[in-house]
Symmetry: C2
Subunit: 125 residues, 2 copies
DNA sequence: ACAGAAATGATATTGAGTTATCAATATCGC
DNA sequence: GCGATATTGATAACTCAATATCATTTCTGT
């Protein structure tokens, strides 16, 4: 697919490497533009596609939210969505009970949990 | 908002009353059209809005999926998304552990769980 | 039955997110 | 460094869910 590497691609990759939470396309664009102000939205989406194809990035979908992206090398985790600042944080622990959760009529292969509430900054503000 | 009731509205309401799972606009439309073939998409969306305003319907958002709607009178529950037939089922039980789940830096006010796997029909097929 | 108002249905429009187009630019093997 | 070509950036175009428009139909109170 991609045959050459470019400053733009490397910059976008670094944005995700240095982010502690999954990013919206918009957020990734702003972050990348801080280093390369002329970087365009098309390039951002092209880079995201490359990085997904190469397995570097994966999609993070939260209910009712637009798509976010994060590095795929992370361990199994869930997300916390602050209802005040709207930011999404990673929740590293996964309630053990959920992994052993069984349902009579279904074969559970995976699960996704989204927590809602207030993040540290917002709860103290 | 709405001042008169109509056959269309009643039909759409019945569709949700008799459905065991949350419905996409598309699905609700097809179901309603089985009784009123001429019913249009605009009427469907208008009815959904009315039924939401009146508190009868609520929104169900699943990660990466378009909006579904279900009756809001149901108890706290979660959803199961069959990766084969793509249908969404209700999961009435909620793992107790999740309600008591705490995180050091966050105030958890709510949670949303989506299970993925195979439903009864698909696991046996 | 009639007039006024509300609801319908067909369709145009919106808006958000994403992809396609294409001339200009940057990259890489030689 | 040069030439071939992959990538970029600006922007047009697309997709999909949802809403607005508006002429027509239906309902309701008198």
């Amino acid at each position: 697919m991609r045959q050459r590497t470019s400053l733009q691609l490397r910059t976008i990759q670094q944005v995700f490497e240095s982010s502690k939470h999954p990013l919206l396309a918009e957020e990734a664009l702003s972050a990348a533009q801080r280093k390369l102000p002329s970087l365009g939205i098309a390039t951002l989406y092209r880079a995201i596609r490359s990085l997904r194809n190469s397995g570097f990035l994966k999609v993070v979908e939260l209910p009712g939210e637009s798509t976010r992206y994060e590095m795929s090398c992370k361990d199994h985790h869930h997300h916390f969505h602050c209802r005040k600042c709207k930011r999404v944080f990673e929740v590293e622990s996964c309630p053990a009970a959920i992994k052993n959760f069984k349902l009579p009529d279904f074969v559970i292969e995976d699960h996704e949990i989204t927590f809602y509430g207030l993040c540290t900054s917002c709860k103290d503000a």
